[in-house]
Symmetry: C2
Amino acid sequence: MPRYKLALLGFGNVGRSLALLLQRKEAELRDRYDITFNVTGIATGRHGAAICPDGLDYVRAVKMVEAGESLADLSRLPVQDNFDFLRNCGADVLFENTPVNHETGQPAINHLHLALELGMHAITANKGPVVHAYRDLKKFSEEHNKKFYFESTVMDGAPIFSLFRSALPAARLLGLRGILNSTTNLILGRMESGESFDVAVQYAQSVGLAETDPSADVDGWDAAIKVAALVTVLMDIPFIPQQVDRTGIRLITPEMIAQAKAQGKRWKLVCSAERQADSVKGRVAPELVSSSSPLYSVEGSSSIVEFHTDTLSSLSIVEGNPGPQTTAYGLLADFINAVR
Amino acid sequence: MPRYKLALLGFGNVGRSLALLLQRKEAELRDRYDITFNVTGIATGRHGAAICPDGLDYVRAVKMVEAGESLADLSRLPVQDNFDFLRNCGADVLFENTPVNHETGQPAINHLHLALELGMHAITANKGPVVHAYRDLKKFSEEHNKKFYFESTVMDGAPIFSLFRSALPAARLLGLRGILNSTTNLILGRMESGESFDVAVQYAQSVGLAETDPSADVDGWDAAIKVAALVTVLMDIPFIPQQVDRTGIRLITPEMIAQAKAQGKRWKLVCSAERQADSVKGRVAPELVSSSSPLYSVEGSSSIVEFHTDTLSSLSIVEGNPGPQTTAYGLLADFINAVR
């Protein structure tokens, strides 16, 4: 039975949830998939890094970081920086979960590139590398006979990329339509309950969904990045967020919300993409959605994508109640699918 | 490049749609999946059967059957019956699409069994064998190193079984909830527009959804069979339709429909299953669904299933606009997944 060495680069909510999920699923991986593993390295943003070639106590690492302690004490080797960490962790599989850089995808792209070069499967929940370097990383992974997987980059752990990779062969994606940004969906929902835009934004900030500067969400950038990732991968057409025709939700007024409600409709920030003759039209904009649309019932931080293909005219995936643990599941699924 | 010999047993709407889909996707299968094929046999219910070891013109066969002609003229070999057909068609892959027998699953079970014994992958859109012989056929297929796949038995061609097989590793299904019977969903929708139950049933019959005797649909049997299939396969717990606590839609009155509508709710025939300590609770019954449920917007012949797992708390699959061509796609996907 193979024993895989795992490295976790980035140990925030998602990385720590992955560690706890790995512990919870350890017996199942062994009994059902013949997979055993050690975690040989964990690198955090602000609590140091640890490398133990024989495997480290990754559950203890979660507790240490949550208590504000440094992991350096656990390490058998000194670690200079993230690249040094990758070179010395000796892993077979890298989970890259450093913060997303929307502009360039760096340094995550370089992390994944180095991991593949060192013979690791490269798994990430980071959208940056998918939007900015998908083709290069995919080609590089194939040259090294390793996998570059990123299920958790869109709709948390819901199977989107693996669906097309394995369960929908010979289905050509013609278009898609969905709700892919939780923060704006939550804000619009709060406004339906009577809150002003500003109060709804404050609420989204208070529950940890919106950033201090909410513009990446409310101006549609996050949604545009997800459209770009889906088009790039599932249509195999390079597409950047700047190519998405993008309108945020700042102009949606309480009056518009009330008027929609009176008509039995809802405002949603709708993401869409459609294949044209030689190109793709991508769009993020508020739309009035009626109750006959599967988008209508998507509440709060839930998300949906409806796919139109040349074989199934409408197939939708809906994820409810996401959180760091669902994102962690996407990473675990990528690991299993990479090695089985 | 391998050249697979295909046999189609059952050549109704679904079988003929599969033939046309095979033609449409022939180049894509070759170029993208390195799969080439011949159709070496087609057996119909009422228009004879044909076997051609070198491959037969399956598009011509569609036209002949649709013109009411017998396929016997195309055949290089005499064909006595379906078992004789299987023994002599020389195929590597069987598509079994004979009419469903809800009581016993026969003779489809015997067809699939013989096909596996003869070294074919056994693919079916027929629910009977899944409900009545899943474990046996699965074990038998593994012993013969062949695949027994049946994606099209529930929700047409939407990926349900392949989703759990390939895209959702290490996800334990705890429960499910869905709308799986098109006919009752259409009838309830027509009643919302003001039709009586009887008129709505007649409409469903006129568009070919309901049978002359609509009881299999309106009394919940078809839905119960689908619940049994999902539980049997996805929870790996043998479960028969008779174990499903079943209530049909005959007692739903126009008054109840109107009252629900006034509350912003809809009556839906809801299928559900839930794991208990040592068993499963399966249920089919009309339920009032509110607009916050993903079931709310499922109209007409569309269908949905919401899965609750130990890793993703809510993942729904929605299929819109199904038809024989979507069922055919499920069969094609099974073929590709069986051989790739």
